[in-house]
Subunit: 389 residues, 2 copies
């Protein structure tokens, strides 16, 4: 037996029987990032996005539509501070949310000659753009820093504030991705002014989700102010600020202790069990939040059939969904798609359904014993409720 | 000003001036893995690789050449334990170390219907295969577990024991990648028996690196036993075990405190400043370790020209390189390639050269002030030394 000492300061070494060596490697990665409300981010007097760095270059990837509306102002902003920037407008959709788009951006970064740590990528756009750019930032040289500027309601309260990145693969949503925290995310609701109503409602679906599974007050606020939120596009300071802050705070409360999804029982998966297949089947007609709304309506009916919630609460949820101009059914949302979704989700949740269902408004629990019979029955009930509207 | 309390247990919220909210997200990711010496891993009585799990399926990605030699035995091993396995032999090279190969494997995982956490991928092969499969495991569903079984000397002491994954992009080596720790790496030097001599020497280059920059004893052992190591292919238990354990321990000692390369002054980058461009230019003729050897020889001459090491030590290093049947020069290793490498490495090391150079045998330090003149002069000197051999 060869006894041997590595002189290691940190690596723990055991010499086992017959001279077998065993090394234990152990390390902690500390991840920190900030989500900051910053109104009118690109007004000259607002210096938030500079982060105090007035020397380094910036690589800006901006949604093509956002660029049309805000590109000039943003360029003027960085010009004012004499900052060398590369602007890359990018047309994005669920169909171009692919690894090929990632490679195209990698090539642009190579051409720019991005430094590894001190020339942050700035991503400006909706959830799809932020997901793609997040993946690029996480893969390029095994990770470079990036800053998120969400410009849609969906991105402001969901895609923009977590650490997930990803692209689609064939018909599988976000099948390829990583966890890569931004340096900082800026919340500027001023962008919502120019968002069309359908995209406001799209984001409201995720806010509704938070209300249903964990925040009864938020649910009540949505019921009371739905029309005002939609018509003012979140520009009413009092109401919309409370709603945004409550949504972001609630979301981060769920994400932070489970940033790498080590725990697969996730409240925030409500509305995300059956919707991925629906969304990918109905591309490009159905938005993410719309697919989530259909899933939530169905899951709510499921919960009512199990007597987890009263029919009164079920109907309040369905009514609020409609008030938020979101769908509760879809012609492709068939029992067959629902069965397929269940099989897929079991793989994604490592062998169990782990299905979050509401047990009242503002509360939810997890279930692993959903049957195909129940799916069919709930599907029928939802259809009937829809017909009786 | 809207004062608002998120009721967050963990997310820290500040309400700034004018009602601006600021959330700080903070989390620690704990990474642990084991590197275990396990001789004759696929002998029936060796149960190490089962990890005590006798129910879950395995997805095995194996180098095509390794499969020809060991595939049947490995299949018999898993058959013996009645384990359902999918075997995927993969032909790999630096040219097919691309994202396209990653996508091909993602498709295979989809077809297999891999569970997210409990059906580990087992990667069996050399460094290129382990790098590719590591990236696949890190991207699929944002990360699934995998087990590494290195089968070459290079992989045993380098690629197999760290957490880096990656593929090439155009002519850039490992431009796209992640950090993704394996569950466990098994060190079975029995695989080296069937490795050709050139690949033994290829791995010896990385062992030589450790000797030069941090372990004088290892360097001395290499000097003393070079011929025996090469001819016995590391099958002599006493000497080769000490060398392997010292190399793996030394490497992990460097990696563990800097697992995500937050520190860009890295001793293990010795021989990896000028070699990536050489390697990618000389594909497929030059192996990784051979390119590293040429870089080390050049860097050693640079160090001697700066009087960081004596010419005696310089010549000892060059002589040992030759004893290990490794090259010290290459026709493509021109001043022009060296300049280009310097520019590239400055981007990769975030604005500074951070060049590790030996300051004696078994010690190194970092330098940021290398000039083009020095590169040319050292290049000339190395050429002359070569001619006088």
């Amino acid at each position: 037996m060869t006894k041997y000492n590595t002189n290691s300061r940190t690596v723990e070494l055991e010499v086992e029987d017959f001279g077998k060596c065993k090394w234990h490697v152990e390390a902690e990665k500390s991840v920190q990032y900030t989500v900051l409300e910053s109104y009118k981010l690109f007004d000259i007097e607002n210096r938030d996005i500079l982060l105090g760095h007035l020397n380094s270059r910036r690589f800006i990837i901006i949604d093509e539509q956002v660029n049309i509306r805000y590109g000039q102002r943003i360029e003027e902003y960085f010009d004012h501070y004499n900052l060398e920037c590369r602007f890359l407008p990018l047309e994005v959709s669920e169909q171009t949310k692919t690894i090929q788009t990632v490679l195209q951006l990698v090539e642009e970064l190579d051409n720019f000659g991005l430094l590894r740590r001190n020339e942050p990528i700035i991503a400006i756009g909706g959830g799809v753009l932020l997901d793609i750019v997040g993946l690029v930032a996480s893969l390029y040289r095994r990770g470079v820093p990036y800053i998120r500027v969400p410009t849609t309601l969906m991105a402001l309260i969901d895609a923009g504030i977590g650490v997930k990145t990803g692209v689609n693969f064939h018909t599988h949503k976000n099948r390829i991705g990583t966890y890569h925290a931004p340096q900082i995310t800026f919340i500027d609701k001023n962008f919502l002014k120019t968002l069309d109503q359908r995209h406001i409602c799209n984001g409201l679906a995720e806010i509704l989700k938070i209300g249903i599974v964990k925040d009864r007050t938020l649910f009540n606020l949505l019921e009371k102010y739905s029309t005002e939120l939609i018509t003012s596009k979140f520009q009413n300071p009092k109401i919309s600020d409370v709603i945004l802050q409550r949504s972001i705070g609630g979301m981060l409360e769920e994400l932070e202790p489970n940033l790498w999804e080590q725990q697969l029982y996730r409240l925030m998966d409500f509305g995300h069990s059956f919707s991925p297949k629906l969304e990918m089947s109905a591309i490009p007609k159905l938005l993410h939040g719309e697919a989530v709304a259909v899933d939530m309506a169905f899951s709510t009916v499921l919960a009512a059939e199990r007597n987890l919630i009263s029919t009164t609460d079920r109907d309040r949820i369905l009514r609020l969904t409609r008030l938020l101009k979101l769908p509760t059914t879809h012609k492709l949302f068939t029992p067959s798609l629902l069965f397929d979704s269940m099989h897929e989700i079991i793989k994604h949740r490592d062998g169990l359904q782990r299905l979050p269902l509401p047990i009242g408004i503002g509360q939810a629990d997890f279930f692993n014993d959903l049957t195909e019979q129940e799916i069919e029955a709930a599907s029928d009930t939802l259809q009937k409720l829809k017909e009786n509207e």
